[in-house]
């Protein structure tokens, strides 16, 4: 399969209290698409889907800001905003 030009893919399995798995597609230093999965808990649950949506088009250096903003009222167990940011960053570092 030919890779789409200009895009890279990156993944990270990041162990916080629970596991955060990131599967992402990047264009340069911007997130094109991202999937956050794992065995963590977050309330309300749909904040993860909202976060995935809001991270699209965001530069890697602004990820932490967006995560903090979207999850400011969420309650999470086994992860936190810092570990999520680190996991996304790791996926970017690991990109092909």
């Amino acid at each position: 399969m030919q890779r789409e030009s200009g895009y890279t893919e990156g993944k990270a399995d990041f162990k916080a209290g629970k596991l955060i798995r990131i599967r992402a597609k990047f264009k340069g230093d911007k997130i094109e698409d991202i999937k956050i999965t794992g065995d963590f808990y977050i309330y309300p649950e749909d904040s993860i889907e909202l976060l995935e949506e809001k991270l699209k088009g965001i530069r890697i250096e602004d990820v932490e800001k967006i995560i903090n903003e979207i999850l400011k009222d969420a309650e999470y167990i086994g992860i936190d905003t810092e570990s999520l940011s680190m996991a996304v960053r790791e996926a970017w570092i690991n990109r092909n």
């Binding site: 794992g38 065995d39 808990y41 309330y43």
Partner: protein, 245 residues
């Protein structure tokens, strides 16, 4: 507090998850409700945020006739075979979610006490006996209510479990199996001789004590069953839901 108890049977995975959600949706009509059930055939449930393909050896599960289902609660993949599962729906207490885990898990700790076992909270939301995990629990809050479900391991076969669940690193699989064997226990391993029905009665009693509740039984309304059937077919049994993430 009045707590309705449903002494349920062993069901297919889609139905189990559909009925739990239907109970949560009807909390306002039915009030606090505890359901005690099992799984037939054996099943793997994955957490709401997990990817089925990343967590489960789907081919192997199909070969073995094991049901696969996505929960509405977070957490990890669970192999449901030799266990009693509980679900409870309640109005959400004020305060942090983590605190309400502890409140509900007290019901399990009381149940273990009846069995002569001293159990305690472990990690985020597990229960352990003599340092080994015997119960895992997961909670969600939706439709103005709280649903928590969890398991009590009656027996465990770690090798069978890991033939079905994927591990992050295949090379370390043997080591991981060894380590999980050391960290997980079951009623059988603790020398407790009980059967499914007896355990249902004990857990109902445990929750009664922990919540200071009066227990009563009442048949499920047609409305609850109808909603569960709808969720079973239109949600839990769909590929869209199972492969959602």
């Amino acid at each position: 507090m009045e707590l309705r108890v449903i002494f349920d049977n062993k069901h297919k995975a889609f139905w189990n998850m559909a009925l739990d959600e239907s109970l949560l949706m009807h909390l306002k009509d039915i009030g606090p409700t505890l359901r005690l059930y099992g799984w037939n055939p054996a099943a793997i449930s994955i957490g709401y945020f997990q990817s089925l393909e990343e967590e489960v050896n789907v081919e192997k599960a199909k070969e073995m006739g094991i049901d696969l289902v996505r929960r509405i609660t977070g957490g990890g993949a669970v192999y449901h075979k030799w266990e009693l599962t509980y679900s409870i729906v309640l109005p959400p207490p004020k305060g942090k979610v983590l605190n309400s885990y502890k409140l509900i898990e007290r019901g399990l700790i009381e149940s273990f006490k009846i069995l002569g076992i001293e159990a305690k909270y472990s990690g985020i939301n597990d229960i352990e006996v003599r340092g080994k995990k015997i119960s895992g629990n997961a909670q969600t809050r939706k439709y103005g209510g709280l649903l928590q479900h969890g398991t009590i391991l009656m027996d465990v076969d770690v090798e069978e479990m890991f033939s079905l669940l994927k591990v992050p690193n295949e090379k370390l699989k043997d080591k991981m199996i060894k380590s999980v064997k050391e960290r997980v226990t079951s009623l059988r391993a603790l020398g407790i001789d009980t059967d499914f029905q007896e355990l249902q009665n004990i857990v109902a009693e445990g929750f009664k004590k922990a919540l200071g509740a009066r227990l009563y039984e009442e048949e499920l309304s047609e409305e609850i069953i109808k909603k569960a059937k709808e969720l079973e077919v239109n949600k839990y049994a769909t590929r869209e839901w199972l492969y959602r993430r």
